[in-house]
């Protein structure tokens, strides 16, 4: 069977939504099957680490890698698949920018444990926490060690292409599949290494059908305070912090079209160094006030700036983590 190029898809620390998104390309999945020899895809088939280890380096043509680097095992597989793959694609928000779970970088792992194992419903008088290695009467049980910080794939290995989105839109996945197949047939060229694929060059507003005017606002509102929004008018102009202006296009502005603000899952636009910085300056730019006191009171309308600006992107931002994550003296 295998003169066909080899294809792999892998999840590290992810929610599985990327896999669902791939399954949702429906009949296109058959094209993948027709053009590739799927050698490694845990969700769809038996996947054995050592089988992959035994493959020749570079023998997998295309690997779609989703999920972030939450523990050492994630990193080990990342290194393995990098070695084995010609083209390694950082697939989806977790691999590319850390995604929502990247917000864990605001806190030290110890704090995550302290909370998770002492919630309202947790009965834990002896203050038991999971440990990497534990002696049961019958022997030793081990579980992987968590990294102190969630990392993106590119922070651990060299990545060829990035495909943003939480999850990437199925039509974009289909487009990329088509592209690769065309490349195989010599009908198309691969984009330059390091490119973002399966997304636009601009930002969500580019695809958003809502009318936009010169923006000057006197107050930010939380969506539940003003819903339902005017369906025809820019959400940000209605005072609801919409991340669309700074978020890469490619999703067809799904959330704004459904009456909800963009929350930024497609990450920064082309060439942007820090996603949060773009939003900070964008939101600040539309505030219609000059007096510090008035500006501050308008800013109170954004109750959680850090979360608002780094919801998906913290692990890939310039600062990458909250101070307390790495600095015991930090607060």
């Amino acid at each position: 069977m295998s003169d066909k190029p080899k294809f792999a898809m892998y999840w590290a620390a992810s929610c599985g939504g990327c896999e669902i998104a791939v399954l949702n390309i429906h009949e296109k999945i058959l094209d993948v099957d027709a053009n590739f020899d799927v050698v490694f895809w845990p969700v769809a088939m038996d996947a054995k680490y050592k089988d992959v280890e035994e493959m020749e380096d570079g023998s997998i043509l295309l690997t779609l890698f989703n999920g972030s680097m939450r523990n050492q095992e994630n990193e080990k597989i990342a290194h393995l698949l990098r070695r084995k793959s010609k083209i390694l694609v950082s697939f989806g928000s977790c691999a590319t920018e850390g995604c929502i779970p990247g917000l864990a970088n605001l806190f030290p792992v110890s704090e995550i444990f302290d909370v998770a194992y002492h919630t309202a419903s947790t009965d834990n008088p002896d203050n038991i926490h999971p440990v990497p290695s534990f002696e049961v009467p019958e022997g030793t049980l081990t579980i992987p060690i968590m990294n102190p910080t969630v990392k993106t794939l590119a922070q651990v290995v060299d990545v060829d292409y990035f495909m943003p989105g939480c999850p990437p839109e199925s039509h974009q996945i289909a487009a990329v599949v088509d592209l690769v197949i065309q490349v195989l047939q010599g009908k198309a060229q691969l984009p330059p290494k390091g490119s973002v694929i399966g997304a636009g060059q601009s930002t969500v507003c580019d695809e958003c059908p809502r009318t936009r005017n010169v923006k000057l606002i006197k107050a930010f509102h939380r969506i539940q305070e003003v819903a339902p929004l005017d369906p025809a008018l820019c959400i940000l102009e209605q005072g609801v912090p919409c991340n669309g202006p700074a978020t890469r296009s490619g999703c067809m502005a799904r959330c704004p079209q459904a009456g909800a603000q963009c929350i930024g899952c497609y990450g920064p636009a082309e060439g942007v160094v820090d996603y949060g910085a773009r939003l900070i300056t964008a939101f600040a730019s539309i505030i219609d006030a000059r007096e510090p006191a008035e500006i501050e009171s308008i800013l109170d309308g954004i109750p959680d700036p850090t979360g608002q600006f780094y919801r998906f992107n913290l692990a890939d931002s310039l600062l990458r983590a909250g101070r307390s994550n790495w600095d015991k003296d930090g607060h």
Binding site: A47, E73, P137, I223
Partner: protein
């Protein structure tokens, strides 16, 4: 003490660790004990603190890409409760309609791709055939198309109401942001009617192929897959199964109502136990107490699956599903049904209910009303939201400051409810099937079937999909040499 042999069953790969089973053998090679480990924690309960409560339906989505709809709903309901706001009827209808579309898709996927093959093909049929393709060959080609169609339809509903296929975006405190157009409604109604036929067809297939087959029936009724535990499920005012709203009802191993509580009271009834060898916690009934991984009335262990929902209810709220419900119990000899394998059948009955209710909602005169949101007016404080995820009762509990920023978050997710039962089932299967250090034929699939019935989604608890979890089982002799490797391939 004597050096034990160990068997490691690793659902996916040895090094990836999306949950693995360690089975320890004693000197005679019989099972001394086994452990089902969940090796991942992402800390949502910590990093959601400080976020605005209205973001929870969007943030907790990302706990699981398989059942984001469930988290979206539980979060939205918890957020409603935090603001003590009651969404307009239309908003609730829309949320529930989205949820039905999701349920139909999810149950279909599980039955045809994951659980069903065991029966339709037979547990001891060649592994290579025991999958969706095998099913297609046996039941007929058109079934494959139907399954894909059903998934597509379900996703279409989710996208029409939730804005996106994966990780819906439209539920907010006080309602929903999207209004349903008449064209969309029509389309949804048609798809719903199709879904009903599909569900009936699936039930018929199950009867023809499984129930008609003595071997399968015995298998279902056999002891290996039987546990006598409490059962949990959400019910409406008439104690009928409800996925979106109602009270949580728990019945004891004899099927008598043990408790029925409103979401806000969950803490009086549910507690979680921590073990140092796994990242996942073990919920149990607080009033009974944690007694370890054991059956029976004195053990707080309970189960929350399609089967438990049926056991915990007095019936289904839609006519066809109600018929199926009655047939279910008459066939299996009354309530409650303790045989775990019956869960597959229960799942199809829920599929039928989801499809029927889907049409009921889509034909409700108010479904296209533009009154889809009520602006919260009260100071946010604390709230609990509970829905039935396909894999069990899902509880979100938030506490906020006066600005609605979270100060406490507690999540008890679907699969977690069944963590103890899964541990018990696999343990029991292992004990029954592994003797003298030798694994009997079909052991692998038998053990796998033991936990597949729970349709475990560690996306919630960890991050793996409810896949046909391929097993690899290695048996060592006293000297630790590999004497036998049993494998199951799926491709």
């Amino acid at each position: 003490m004597t050096q034990l042999n160990r068997i490691t069953i690793d659902p996916i790969t040895r090094l990836e660790g999306h949950g693995k089973i360690d089975i320890f053998l004693d000197g005679n090679g019989d099972v001394a004990n086994s452990y089902f480990q969940i090796p991942e924690l992402r800390g949502f309960e910590r990093f959601c603190v400080g976020r605005p409560v209205e973001e929870m339906p969007l943030l907790t989505n990302r706990i699981c890409g398989v059942c984001p709809e469930a988290h979206h709903m539980a979060a939205a309901k918890a957020a409603d409760a935090v603001y003590n706001v009651d969404p307009p009827r239309t908003a609730k209808l829309l949320r529930e309609l989205l949820y039905m579309g999701f349920y139909a898709t999810d149950h279909t996927t599980h039955f045809y791709a994951l659980g069903g093959p065991d029966f339709i093909m037979g547990p001891d049929s060649p592994v290579a055939e025991r999958n969706i393709l095998g099913v297609i060959h046996k039941v007929g080609l058109e079934i494959g198309g139907k399954v894909i169609q059903m998934r597509k339809y379900g996703h279409t509903v989710v996208e029409m109401i939730g804005g996106r296929k994966v990780h819906p975006a439209t539920s907010i405190p006080g309602g929903i942001t999207k209004i349903l157009s008449e064209e969309e409604r029509k389309q949804i109604e048609e798809m719903g009617r199709w879904a009903i036929d599909f569900a009936l067809f699936s039930l018929q297939a199950f009867k023809d192929i499984v129930l008609a087959n003595k071997t399968y029936l015995d298998l279902i009724l056999g002891d290996i897959y039987t546990h006598h535990t409490y059962y949990m499920g959400m019910v409406d005012a008439n104690n009928k199964v409800n996925f979106y709203d109602g009270k949580v009802r728990v019945v004891d191993p004899d099927g008598k109502e043990f408790v029925k509580y409103a979401p806000k009271d969950y803490l009086e009834h549910i507690a979680e136990h921590v073990e140092p060898w796994t990242y996942l916690k073990f919920p149990y009934l607080k009033k009974v107490g944690w007694k370890g991984f054991i059956d029976g009335r004195d053990s707080g262990v309970y189960m929350a699956t399609p089967l438990s929902r049926l056991n915990a209810s007095d019936g289904m709220a839609t006519p066809k599903a109600q018929e199926a419900y009655e047939e279910f119990y008459s066939t299996l000899g009354g309530k409650p049904v303790h045989q775990r394998l019956a869960t597959h059948w229960a799942r199809l009955i829920e599929l039928l209910y989801a499809a029927e209710h889907w049409v009921e909602l889509a034909t409700d005169p108010e479904i296209t009303s533009s009154n889809v949101h009520r602006v919260p007016t009260q100071t946010p404080t604390e709230g609990v939201g509970i829905v039935e995820a396909p894999r069990g009762t899902l509880t979100h509990h938030y506490t906020t400051d006066e600005r609605g920023l979270l100060t406490k978050v507690n999540l008890i997710v679907g699969t977690t409810n069944n963590y103890a039962p899964i541990q018990m089932s696999t343990n029991k299967a292992a004990r029954n099937l592994i003797k003298g250090g030798k694994a009997t034929e079909g052991l692998l699939n038998m053990v796998e079937m033991a936990f597949r019935v729970y349709d475990p989604c560690f996306g919630c608890a960890t991050h793996s999909l409810p896949g046909q979890m391929p097993l690899e089982l290695t048996i060592h002799n006293q000297d630790g040499e590999i004497t036998e490797v049993l494998k199951q391939f799926v491709d």
